[in-house]
């Protein structure tokens, strides 16, 4: 395969990936705009941020094992008490890092 063909494929792959990703991002918003602004769908949309976030974190916590649970609990507690995301995050990371340092 010559270089020109490779460059064409490269461009195609990046353009395709960029378009697909953008279509999903803007598509979600425009689709929601067209759906009802009251009632059941509104409740559904308002519940989404919380349920998406918990879905993002759960497999990660499980993968980190018992220390993952401890770190997550500490992070949540600190976030609640201090309201400082950065401090809460640092504590969680420190617990996991320490546990790995000690077990290796």
């Amino acid at each position: 395969m010559n270089l020109q063909d490779h460059n064409d494929l490269m461009l195609l792959a990046i353009a395709g990936a960029a378009l697909a990703t953008y279509a999903l991002r803007i598509g979600g918003l425009l689709l929601a705009d067209r759906l009802p602004h009251t009632g059941a769908f509104k409740t559904f949309l308002e519940a989404l941020p919380g349920t998406i976030l918990i879905s993002i974190v759960m497999p990660g916590i499980m993968a980190a094992g018992i220390w993952g649970w401890i770190a997550a609990a500490m992070t949540a507690l600190l976030a609640r008490k201090t309201g400082n995301t950065f401090v809460a995050m640092l504590a969680g990371v420190a617990v996991v890092a320490l546990s790995r340092f000690l077990t290796v």
């Binding site: 990936a17 991002r25 918003l29 059941a40 919380g50 349920t51 770190a71 990371v93």
Partner: protein
């Protein structure tokens, strides 16, 4: 605009170090696959989605499997359909050009930070954009540093940096708790996400858990409304006509 933009950028700084560290890992991988830094930068600016870019770079062996790559990216980024939908209240009343421009810079991190701020009555489109530009900058900086100089951190996991994402999202999650009836949708989402992550590859667990949990919440609301309507029909004796 500029004040909220700056606030949004600063609010994303807690996660910036991790984004840069993982960017540098991607940069090294890209250099190994003989991807030029210009190509990598183009990908950063146009695709701007971390896990999808990792998949693309891993599949980067000539002749490039373009169709498989694009399909893989679509599957991983399917969650953006939900994330985009959930941003409706933030973009309410904004002109189309702001939606079109703003949505390109939506990543998991600045979305979560902005929605949490919106809950407190602060988040705005400018805040979201500020976060997006902050993440894009560190993402580009991290990937290019990795590509040109080698990894900032060889094994981010050793320092718990992989958990940084989990920790930031956990800290933000706390702000979304509203009432005791949230237990069921949240537990439902958690169980669905864990089960899906065992069964399906990629990021389907976010889509399944997110939709499932929100459907439970919607079901609860409909059931509560139905019960209230039934109670109103029952003659109580305490009404004004009694």
């Amino acid at each position: 605009m500029s004040v909220t933009f700056r606030q949004g950028a600063c609010a994303n700084l807690p996660v910036a170090a991790s984004v840069a560290a993982y960017g540098s890992v991607l940069g090294i991988l890209a250099a190994k696959q003989q991807i030029s830094w210009q190509t990598l930068l183009t990908m950063n600016l146009t695709v701007f989605a971390g896990s999808a870019q990792f998949v693309m770079v891993e599949m980067w062996l000539p002749p490039l499997p373009v169709l498989e790559m694009v399909l893989g990216v679509m599957v991983i980024n399917m969650r953006y359909l939900l994330i985009g939908a959930s941003l409706r209240p933030l973009f309410a009343g904004r002109p189309l050009w702001q939606k079109a421009l703003g949505m390109h810079l939506v990543a998991d991190e600045n979305w979560a930070v902005t929605m949490a701020a919106h809950r407190r009555g602060q988040g705005s489109v400018g805040f979201l954009l500020g976060g997006g530009v902050c993440l894009l900058t560190v993402w580009c900086g991290g990937t290019l540093a990795g590509h040109r100089l080698g990894a900032i951190v060889q094994h981010p996991e050793a320092f718990g940096l992989d958990f940084a994402f989990v920790a930031v999202f956990t800290a933000l999650l706390v702000g979304f708790w509203r009432e005791r009836s949230d237990w069921l949708p949240w537990c439902g989402a958690a169980v669905l996400a864990v089960a899906t992550s065992q069964l399906l590859p990629g990021k389907w667990y976010i889509v399944c858990g997110g939709i499932g949990g929100a459907l439970i919440k919607t079901g609860q609301a409909i059931w509560r409304q139905g019960r209230q309507a039934a109670e109103q029909k029952v003659p109580g004796g305490s009404g004004p006509c009694a």
